[in-house]
């Protein structure tokens, strides 16, 4: 009994994924029975209140968490550990400070034993794609936060993953950088027809970029709704002002508000409880 019928163009399927953690206060269910499908070339955003299990879900798909229930399949192959057709970009700064930009980006190519001249040439195309040409020889310590995040993105793209997973890649950046990077990611995604999953807290960002948005509930993390975003492409940050755009944002905010306030209340109670306990 799947929520949507399977089709040949589905590159990723998650079936009844459950993630539980043992904590000091007993077991918690971070992800509860989540099922969804992603089509080849699709851009899907996952949005939900803090602590609802988004990262846990991604870590299952990326193979970093393996003690889950349910199955995740990539092109029909069940995931059990990191898979070469999945590339991840993390929220935290994750460039290698001991490698310069080219060597950072060429890292996955080095792993597959590509000859040096060839991998540098290939790395350069991805560096160019994220707009960092001219910075090849710089080290991450010499770059801004936004630039480093682009290096991480280029590094993941260089491994030519079938599916790109991004866990709040812009969360640590300022608003302007975030908007510009959003445009850039969108352009690259369209250019490569890259299947992309993006975790974000930012509704505007999600609506601007996605083909579909998966809204999650707060504890346990279930799928609340999957919203189709029917806006014309190419989209840039300019469509943010349009009326249709505003309607989507309002609709998703409506869903989220309920969950977010539930989450906030839960956390407040928790804090209150801790306060009286100590």
């Amino acid at each position: 009994m799947s929520p949507t019928s399977s089709s040949a163009s589905d590159i990723l399927t998650a079936d009844n994924v459950i993630v539980r953690f043992e904590t000091a206060e007993g077991p918690i269910t971070a992800v509860d029975d989540v099922s969804f499908k992603v089509r080849q070339g699709e851009f899907l955003s996952v949005i939900g209140p803090s602590g609802c299990g988004k990262s846990s879900l991604f870590n299952v798909i990326g193979g970093l968490l393996t003690n889950h229930q349910g199955t995740v399949q990539v092109a029909g192959e069940t995931i059990n550990g990191p898979h070469q057709s999945i590339g991840m970009v993390f929220q935290e700064e994750s460039t290698f400070p001991w490698r310069n930009v080219v060597d950072n980006v060429a890292f996955p190519l080095e792993l597959i034993g590509m000859p040096k001249a060839k991998r540098i040439e290939k790395a350069r195309t991805f560096i160019k794609m994220v707009g960092l040409d001219g910075f090849e020889k710089r080290f991450p310590g010499e770059l801004s936060g936004g630039m480093r995040q682009r290096v991480s993105l280029a590094r993941t793209l260089a491994s030519e993953p079938k599916i790109l997973l991004m866990d709040e890649p812009f969360a640590a950046l300022d608003e302007q950088t975030r908007l510009l990077l959003g445009d850039q990611v969108l352009r690259i995604q369209q250019q490569l027809q890259q299947t992309t999953l993006l975790i974000t807290h930012n509704i505007t960002e999600a609506v601007q970029m996605s083909d579909r948005i998966l809204v999650m509930t707060y504890r346990p993390g279930k799928v609340k709704r999957i919203v189709d975003i029917d806006l014309p492409r190419p989209r840039t940050s300019e469509i943010v002002g349009s009326e249709a755009f505003g309607r989507y944002v309002a609709e998703i905010w409506n869903d989220l508000r309920e969950e977010a306030s539930r989450g906030m209340k839960d956390e407040e109670e928790h804090a209150l409880h801790e306060g009286t306990a100590s």
Binding site: S94, F96, P97, W98, R99, F107, L111
Partner: protein
Amino acid sequence: MSAAPARRIALYNLVPPALGLATVVGFFVVMEVLVQTNVINRFIVPPPSEIIGSFGRVIVEEHVFSRFVFTLGECLMAGVMITIFGVAGGFLLYRYKLLQQATETWVAAMAAAPVVLAYPLFMVIFGRSAWTIIMIGFVAALPPVILKTLEGLSGTRKVLVNVGKSFNLTASQQFWKIMFPAALPTMFVGVRLGLIFALINIVGVEFLINYGGLGQLINDLAERYDLPGTYAAICFVILVSVVFFMSLEKAERWLRPVD
């Protein structure tokens, strides 16, 4: 793009070393004045001019350069050994948690122990030879390298490890391509600390057992009550450490271009 600002920047870069040199010279001048005016007894501290004057004598008559090379060689040997065994030891402690829990406190205690007092034991094992000196330097300097290696490996940021996992690295790739380079700067701090420990102990033991390089020379000269000579020899010990730390700094900058 004009030459004038570039030259000004070059001049600015010269200011810190010039200031450093001026401080040393200033210190000498002050000491000279204090000794010459009898504020400081010249039989305790000879005037700097006499120390500088005795340089030539110490260099020619006491074979200071071969002694300098001897002490430097001992330090280098101890340095290579602490690097190899310290990094290996730190890795073992990182790899086997039980070993770490069992020994970490001991290793830390070792770092504070005055190993040099055990020199008779080393003499029994290695004889009155350079190996006694090197081994004491080695044992005294090993703990900081082990501890800093352990700290560096354990402190590797989780997200970097996850990047490695997401690229499906093998265990050995994970270590050599991520853990090791990530821990390298911290390990380097350990090696640097270790070399300080080694140098202190090596010169100390040379002095104690009256054997080998600059430490022995200091002992000889002090016994002959040649105070300017003694202080001149101490200057050469300082020179050893300066040489060491300048080359280490170079190596470090080469290993981690920017941070």
